[in-house]
């Protein structure tokens, strides 16, 4: 207890009482490990599978000089640099160099997100709920929860580094280099965990702390990308980003350790800063004042339709931007498709996927069309099924107890979900065009991209209709909509490979769209899909008007 009442105005680190401010750390850590045992398991398995599944094919580069050449050209475009690394070892693009250059970024990002979420979960979020109050009333020092959370994240990162390093080594990558890479990524991720620890002191709410930490991560991503585009192997700008510190170890090419020293220094400094801030603030308070919102609603918030817009626009903007950047990047490689295809034509699996025929670019664009459509379908299902979450939270009841009909309430949500789906789909196709056009590729024009976006709309309406009808009639079975999503993907990508009969393909609404870039579309199919969508939507309204809310 002496720790809890230590002088609140203690300067800097409250050094005399430092030991006692850590009382109980071990117990807390054991509890966190126990509480998070499944999370630790899933994160470890997930990252390990990422290494196991994604990296084997890089080994093919070892025996194929032509493929190495093609890949290093492809990866040198600005768009690809922004999505990979500083490009060490491009002149002899061996499997290890490729993995280090193309994979490190994503692993650091993933582990950084994990570290941020874990730190905030065990510090600020605990404090925000009153659980931590209960704990801190015991023999637990002021800094103990922070230190225990930090140790937890350290342990998780080490476990993942060991497991994924072993996975790499098992696939014939050099053992030392493999572990150097996985431990370097772990150390990079830890920097962002330490950022989150500082943010957790500063912000009163867990969401705020996570938000600012992710913003720092985003800035690190951008700085690294800009710097590496500016200059081969990175400019001064790159060196401002902890992600670059990991990539600059030149692992698998010419390993050097000292950039990791920057990571260690950053972690230590951030921990000291967090301890300093933590000693000065009160329990459950932050250093950044919580921003107040509006006392009165905007005049535009008039009914369910405008509320549905307010509820869905955040997801719409972020999904649109995220997928848009992805399709934009994909567009920039369309120019290179003919070169790439030469390399893979000998592979029968790719031949089955891409089909045969002269205009492979069109086939390739058709596949992108399918991806864009699938992205929009996932968005459509998530937005349509929001109504289920609202009902479970008791919000539907509140709205329907007012002078709002069930039709108006459901219609408002569905209208905004449909609108968002159209925007995500069409903007995706246009982003693909923009990417292709920015590299000077203009053999296929704007109009065709636009049509590629538009032809999927009736099929997407079917997806929305199905999700809505499930919600209205079988609210417990709305998961079927996600099963359909998986099936759409399966049919789209692997129908030929599995030799699926036509009736089985026809269950996927996307199958009826066909190959718009190669064969054009059948008008009757479009009308048929639109008809099915209308029937499903009408069924949804009928069902929702009849049933109990909340459903039993």
């Amino acid at each position: 207890m002496s720790a809890a009442v230590a002088t609140p105005s203690a300067p800097v680190l409250a050094r005399p009482a430092f030991g006692s401010t850590l009382a109980g750390t071990g117990k807390l850590l054991r509890f966190m490990l126990r509480r998070d045992r499944m999370r630790i398991l899933w994160w470890t398995l997930g990252i390990t599978f990422l290494y196991a599944g994604g990296l084997g094919e890089y080994l093919l580069l070892a025996d194929d000089a032509q493929a190495r050449e093609a890949r290093s050209v492809l990866i040198s475009s600005p768009a690809m640099i922004s999505m990979s690394g500083p490009g060490y070892g491009l002149d002899n693009y061996q499997p290890g160099a490729a993995v280090a250059n193309e994979f490190t970024l994503w692993i650091v990002l993933t582990l950084a997100v994990m570290s941020i979420l874990q730190i905030v979960r065990h510090t600020r979020s605990e404090e925000e709920s009153s659980r931590s109050e209960l704990v801190r009333a015991g023999i637990v020092g002021r800094h103990a929860p922070s230190v225990a959370a930090l140790l937890l994240v350290l342990i998780m990162n080490v476990v993942i580094a060991l497991a994924s390093g072993a996975t790499l080594a098992a696939q014939d990558f050099d053992v030392t280099q493999s572990f150097a890479m996985t431990f370097a990524t772990a150390l990079g991720a830890l920097v962002f965990g330490a950022v989150a620890l500082v943010a957790a002191q500063a912000y009163e709410h867990g969401r705020g702390a996570i938000g600012i930490s992710l913003a720092v991560l985003g800035a690190a991503f951008l700085l690294r990308a800009l710097g590496d585009i500016q200059e081969k192997h990175g400019s001064a700008l790159s060196w401002l980003s902890p992600i670059a510190w990991v990539q600059q170890t030149r692992v698998f090419v010419d390993l050097r350790w000292w950039p990791l020293g920057l990571c260690v220094a950053a972690v230590v400094l951030l921990i000291l800063l967090a301890a300093f801030l933590g000693s000065r603030r009160d329990f459950a308070s932050g250093l950044v004042a919580v921003r107040k919102g509006r006392a009165d609603a905007r005049p535009t918030l008039t009914g369910p339709l405008s509320l549905a817009w307010v509820q869905q626009r955040g997801a719409l903007i972020w999904t649109g931007l995220g997928l848009g950047v992805m399709w934009l990047g994909s567009g920039t490689i369309i120019r290179e498709v003919p070169n790439m295809l030469e390399a893979v034509e000998s592979n029968p699996m790719y031949a089955a996927l891409l089909g045969s025929g002269e205009d492979m670019v069109r086939t390739f664009l058709g596949i992108f069309g399918l991806y864009i459509g699938a992205g929009a379908a996932a968005f459509a299902i998530a937005m349509t099924l929001r109504v289920k979450g609202e009902e479970e939270a008791g919000l539907t009841e509140l709205a329907l107890a007012a002078r709002v009909s069930r039709g108006r309430w459901l219609g408002s949500s569905l209208a905004i979900a449909l609108l968002g789906t159209v925007l995500v789909q069409v903007s995706g196709a246009l982003a693909l065009w923009l990417g292709a056009a920015s590299t000077g590729y203009d053999e296929i024009g704007f109009r065709e991209y636009l049509e590629l976006g538009l032809v999927y709309l009736p099929a997407l309406a079917v997806v929305v209709g199905l999700a809505a009808a499930l919600y209205a009639w079988l609210p417990k079975a709305t998961g079927i909509a996600w099963v359909l999503f998986g099936y759409i993907f399966l049919v789209g990508m692997f129908a030929d490979l599995f030799d699926l009969p036509d009736w089985a393909r026809g269950i996927s609404p996307f199958w009826w769209v066909g190959s718009p870039m190669v064969e054009g579309v059948e008008a009757s199919h479009m009308w048929g899909l639109a008809g099915v969508a209308v029937v499903l939507l009408v069924l949804a309204f009928i069902g929702f008007r009849r049933r109990d809310v909340p459903s039993a």
Binding site: V290, G293, T302, L307, V310, A393, G394, A401, R403, V404
Partner: protein
């Protein structure tokens, strides 16, 4: 509850209402009437069917059989039109997490058509101040009590003819409960009717004219508080000089306890209200030095129906309930 209002169309009229969820019977022949200007308490423990009844009234759940009417209109078919005349506060208020409390209030008011803007603004400011609610915080950061305040402010901002309140004060502190009581009285004075579901008995006693007690989906007792008290016992404590033994033998006296005290004997017992006259005359002969009689609290009424006391009492209560209950109406075919 004056004779003139009893001829008007009841604000709530439920007759022989049944509602099953699969094989579970949530409501099993419930009767409930709220007349214009009446504040009716709706008492029962969790799971008795209070919230189910309210959800049927709001047209959220569809009755299995029986009739439920608001202002004479069908709660399912005419739901939207009827909702313009009522306001609802759920027991566990959830709000749109990314709106502020103030935005939620405005939104709820606008869903019901809004009203005179200047008047609404002034009244909103007053209500926010009385309930000590900061409207600028995001709803996700509110505690249960604060979410409840948001719903209450929105409810009292509306000029509803009927307030349907499902355990509206379960998250409020006593000061806020007092504010709530005040606004209920104001709503009543303005001619509003109230259905107040609760298990806070003192609150119901404070503001309600009439009470319906529900148990296992059926109304087991219903009437004015006075009528209900009449059916029960008065608790008597007296300090007497004489020998209290004859009192114990009187019909209608229960649980007599005697203790020796300074200058006499202290006796406490419960007496049936129906026989209280005879009991009193017997006691006056005993050289009474002090005397207190407390009317049965609602708590005792409540306990009697959930404590499985006397079958005879139960039968009497049911007779009283049907005497006080709604005039029978033919259940409409659905």
């Amino acid at each position: 509850m004056t004779s003139t209002t009893s001829t008007a169309i009841p604000a709530i009229e439920i007759h022989d209402l049944h509602k099953s969820f699969g094989t579970v019977k949530a409501l099993d022949g419930l009767n409930l009437t709220v007349r214009p200007g009446e504040v009716r308490g709706f008492l029962g423990p969790n799971g008795a069917g209070k919230s189910t009844t309210i959800r049927v009234l709001l047209g959220l759940l569809r009755a299995s059989s029986g009739s439920a009417r608001l202002f004479g209109g069908d709660v399912w078919r005419d739901a939207v039109a009827l909702h313009g005349r009522i306001t609802y506060v759920p027991g566990d208020v959830s709000l749109w997490p990314n709106l502020t409390g103030g935005e939620c209030i405005d939104y709820l008011i606008r869903l019901n058509g809004g009203g005179d803007k200047a008047r609404l603004r002034a009244r909103k400011a007053e209500l926010l101040e009385r309930f000590e609610l900061d409207p600028r915080k995001k709803a996700r950061t509110y505690s249960k009590g604060n979410r409840q305040k948001v719903a209450l402010v929105a409810a009292f901002l509306s000029d509803a003819e009927l307030y349907i309140l499902d355990e509206p004060t379960s998250g409020l502190d006593p000061l806020m409960e007092a504010v709530f009581t005040e606004y209920i009285r104001e709503a009543k004075a303005a001619g509003g009717s109230v259905l107040l579901s609760s298990h806070i008995l003192s609150e119901v006693e404070k503001v309600c004219d009439t009470v319906t007690i529900i148990r296992n989906g059926i109304d087991v007792e219903s009437g004015t508080l006075d009528e209900l008290r009449h059916l029960t016992r008065t608790n008597v404590t007296a300090l007497v000089g004489g020998d209290p033994t004859p009192v114990a033998a009187l019909p209608g006296v229960h649980d007599l306890v005697t203790t020796a005290a300074d200058g006499g004997t202290r006796i406490t017992f419960d007496a049936d209200n129906a026989r209280i006259g005879a009991v009193l005359s017997a006691i006056t002969t005993l050289d009474v030095r002090s005397f207190t009689a407390t009317p049965p609290s609602l708590e005792e009424l409540f306990m009697r129906h959930y404590g499985d006391v006397l079958d005879a009492d139960e039968a009497a209560a049911e007779a009283a309930a049907s005497a006080n209950g709604a005039p029978a109406k033919k259940a409409g075919a659905r």
